[in-house]
């Protein structure tokens, strides 16, 4: 349906459109990060494109890829009734260079989406008017949706009561024994090992 949008992008931006595909009718263009804002401006302002609605903006962490972080933008044109998905990839393994231009100036609704991606994934949107955490608290360290954020790491704002203080056991018990139900435990993404709630490494 919106393959002509992809066609227009390819002809106008050339090599900055790294690849395109239309899997199951979802027209997708992978964009060079440096061209992110130009492509978005074109899609928003060109009368043939007129993407006037920002549907979604999110981030994805692919720890095995380089660049590692993917930013995904979904657009829809109410006037032309076509939609497109834009992707770009930024940041190396240590999230250096994890930056992309903000599109808040084009679609004001992108403001909180970009704050969310910054909060949970760690992408810095240059030119964003108010880039700070939106879901987690300011004291939080790190970005919890990165695959290497430890699954059992919590950062309490209120220090937990000790068992001596409470006078009762506070440990959370696994609802099943080790040989029943589903396995309760943690897979480590990096090492591939599995840790059961009792702390034993089952691998």
């Amino acid at each position: 349906m919106s393959e002509r949008v992809l066609e227009a992008l390819r002809s106008k931006f050339g090599a900055a459109v790294m690849s395109t595909h239309s899997l199951h009718g979802d027209d997708t263009a992978v964009i060079e990060p440096s061209a992110w804002k130009d492509v978005c401006t074109f899609l928003r302002n060109d009368p043939q494109m007129s993407f006037d609605m920002l549907v979604d903006l999110c981030g994805v962490d692919y720890p095995s890829r380089s660049p590692r972080i993917e930013v995904v933008l979904h657009l829809y044109s109410i006037a032309k009734r076509h939609r497109i998905r834009l992707k770009t990839a930024v940041g190396d393994e240590d999230l250096v260079g994890c930056e992309v231009d903000s599109v808040t100036g084009l679609w004001p609704g992108a403001n909180w989406f970009e704050r969310e991606v910054f909060d949970l994934i760690g992408v810095r949107f240059t030119g964003h008017p108010d880039l700070r955490r939106i879901l987690m608290y300011p004291e939080f360290e790190g970005h919890p949706l990165l695959k290497d954020y430890p699954a059992d790491r919590t950062q309490p704002l209120v220090p937990y009561r000790t068992e001596a203080e409470a006078g009762v056991p506070l440990e959370k018990l696994a609802p099943f024994g080790p040989d029943e139900g589903m396995p309760f435990g943690r897979h480590n993404v990096r090492s591939g090992s599995f840790t059961s709630p009792s702390g034993k490494d089952n691998n």
Binding site: M136, Q155, P156, V158, L170, K172, D179
Partner: protein, 188 residues
Amino acid sequence: MGELRHVTLDPAEGSGFATTKLNELLGWARKWSLFKYPFVTACCGMEFMALTSPRFDGTARFGAEAPRFSPRQSDLLWVVGTISQRQAPVLRRVYEQMMEPKWVLAFGTCASCGGFYDNYTTVPGIDKIIPCDVYVPGCPPRPEAVIDGLMLLQDKIARGDRTPGVVKPREDPAPGLVQLRRNKGVSA
């Protein structure tokens, strides 16, 4: 109930007196006048509404109907729903603002132990930050279970007992419906 030993009543006079211990009288008075502070954060709130509405009438019957939206005027803190790490200071502060004597009821699995939110964002049970008197597990708990919890709390108040209590299911609602792979050596 604390034992109110009825000693004498003269019908002609229309008056009489009863004897009891002061602690028991206080406990009896407190357990029937629990002013609640509903700290409602999540889906359990719907079940809380069902509990307090006429079909179950789960609070007015026990003298715990009147809500007070100032912690300074309430004695029972209902923690209904998931408590995130970001909300924890608020809950702690609400608890600290309440006047003694005060009690806390954890409504639902999330408030009791964090439930399945075993991650960076959720407090694994409100007892990690404030003392808790009664835990009512369930996702959400049936109103009957909450009424059990409230009666358990009343019992504790009357006895002056501050050890935490858990509402246990009275019976397995559907034996055999859910089969755990318990010690059966199931091949996957």
